[in-house]
Amino acid sequence: MARLFTEDQAYSIQRGVERSLGTRPLTHDIMKDILDVFDVRILNIRIDRYEDDIYFATIFFQQGEKVLELDARPSDSIAMALRTYTPLYFKDSILQSKGIYIC
């Protein structure tokens, strides 16, 4: 799927892919620590909407009996998915219409 991220977003995603910690924690590293300590887990992440050249994502959090469905940017969602080993789902129609075959 073709998508341009800002440099900061791309860097955070890259660190997630490489599973490396930089010299200092990034925002997504901090958020992962908070989720970890307060026993909040991410159930799944969905990139499920595309409107006016904007992609929309939803992150589903769970803590005990509570579930939070949070509107988020796909870049943040991907960065969090990589840090928390959470499944990431794309809506099939978006992939079909916006996806690019690279191999």
Partner: protein, 256 residues
């Protein structure tokens, strides 16, 4: 050229003398080059003397899907056959790049030892307590295991991490600190790492939780420091850039 002609004029040479000298120098140079040029002789690949099936075992540090170090075992079997290269990861899901590594490793081993593997089947068996095997970082271990199996040697307490290229060069891998730590915890005394990776800045995430009365208080800190793997983990760590360098640690054979 102008300088040469000026010099020719200075020592009273005519133009055709200069041209003649050029032609003579060119012909002499061409002949000398033809005679003395180093020639690359065709590499001869020998058939390995392998009559029976051999299996060797190597410890293989790896990283699981949560970024933790896990120790795996690489069992490499060589047996008379027809050039099959197989990867058995049992119930562990593996990515195609791991399969490709096995193939590249066999080619690198073949080139290094100058042996023809077309009459040999190679079976890599990976046993690891993880749900997923990905990445090419077992490539160097696979190549070494083929050489060890062909030479009927054992890996002992030496382990290696690194990707392998067909020419035998070994490239860098990620999560080197976690791999070294899990290797040491599982009895590896000598750990071979790619060139430039025996030390480096490592950021360690430290999480400490305590109870203050009934309140659980956690502290997470990120500490970046320069770490020499060998000193930090009290183990022998060597950098290796090629398959030959790495193999010399198993055989004590001097490399050129």
């Amino acid at each position: 050229m102008l300088g040469v002609l000026n010099m020719a004029n200075f020592i009273k040479l005519k133009n055709y003398d200069v041209v003649f000298i050029f032609i003579v120098v060119f012909i002499v140079g061409f002949i000398a080059g033809t005679i003395f040029m180093p020639r690359s002789s065709p590499v001869e690949y020998n058939q390995p003397d392998l009559q029976e099936e051999r299996t060797i075992s190597m410890l293989m540090p790896a990283i699981d899907t949560e970024g933790n170090g896990v120790i795996g075992t690489l069992l490499t079997t060589v047996k008379p056959g027809n050039g099959k290269i197989l990867l058995d990861t049992s119930k562990v899901l593996n990515y195609p790049d791991t399969q490709l590594s096995g193939r590249v490793a066999a080619e690198a081993a073949s080139r290094y030892a100058k042996v023809n593997l077309s009459g040999i089947d190679i079976v890599y068996t990976v046993r690891v307590n993880a749900s997923l095997v990905e990445g090419p970082s077992a490539g160097a271990a696979m190549a070494l295991s083929v050489l060890l199996a062909l030479d009927n040697k054992t890996a002992g307490d030496i382990a290696i991490t690194g990707t392998i290229n067909p020419d035998g060069s070994i490239d860098k891998v990620g999560s080197i600190f976690e791999k070294a730590r899990i290797a040491k915890a599982n009895g590896v005394m000598t750990f071979l790492v790619p060139t430039g990776q025996s030390s480096g800045e490592q950021t360690i995430r430290e999480k400490v939780c305590n109870y203050v009365n009934a309140l659980k208080v956690c502290r997470i800190s990120y500490v970046a420091e320069m770490i020499n793997l060998g000193n930090y983990l009290n183990m022998t760590v060597h950098e290796v850039g090629t398959l030959g360098e790495a193999y010399s640690f198993f055989t004590k054979r001097e490399t050129i």
